[in-house]
């Protein structure tokens, strides 16, 4: 088989479908579960909304450290990226945590982990929504 024949055998990229998949991924990041809800995957949509929501709510309620863009070191920057993963819930956490973080107690430190886990989990869910829209995941 020649190189030309091999290239022709590769299915063409459907740019419309790709754009839709990216839009679903971004929607899923901004509002946890929305990327799946738009694809009528209701179970996953409700689950991700609920799980990320509870993690953020409890994490902020435990006065976990919600990182901002003025982090002084690499760990603070990583924490900020993880927290940003919660999308719109980042603002909710800021609203709940009016007293600021308190990591002098163990529960404050746990709260930091809850918030970071919520962000990373939501990024994973958004990536899943993107892959599902592309037809790679069921």
């Amino acid at each position: 088989m020649t190189d030309e024949a091999q290239i022709a055998a590769v299915p063409p990229v459907d740019s419309k479908r790709e754009a839709r998949a990216i839009a679903f991924g971004i929607a899923g990041w901004l509002v946890p579960g929305l990327g799946h809800a738009l694809q009528r995957m209701w179970g996953r949509a409700i689950t991700f909304f609920g799980v990320v929501g509870v993690l953020v709510f409890v994490g902020a309620g435990m006065r976990g450290n919600l990182f901002n863009s003025q982090g002084g070191d690499a760990f603070a920057t990583l924490g900020y990226v993880a927290d940003l993963g919660t999308g719109g819930f980042y603002l909710l956490a800021k609203y709940i945590e009016v007293g600021g973080p308190d990591v002098s107690h163990a529960y404050g430190d746990y709260g930091t982990r809850f918030l970071a886990a919520a962000g990373v989990l939501n990024l994973l869910a958004a990536l899943h929504a993107y892959e599902a829209a592309r037809g790679r995941k069921g």
Binding site: R44, F48, M62, R113, H128
Partner: protein
């Protein structure tokens, strides 16, 4: 609003939530999801309590 969860309560809640999310993410059928969630939660608890006890001799 404040939550003062103990170590065990925090671990239980964290393990349960993450197990549910992973179960829904990686399995499609309801029964498979329940099995996955139960197994994942059990491992979370076993490893959490196991690591806690492993660190006990060095805690003071």
């Amino acid at each position: 609003m404040k939550f003062h969860l103990s170590h065990l309560q925090a671990m239980l809640l964290f393990g349960l939530l993450i197990s549910i999310a992973f179960g829904f993410l990686s399995r499609r059928r309801a029964l498979d999801r329940v099995k996955y969630i139960a197994w994942s939660l059990l491992l979370f608890l076993l490893f959490g309590i196991g690591i806690g006890w492993a660190m006990y001799p060095f805690s003071r």
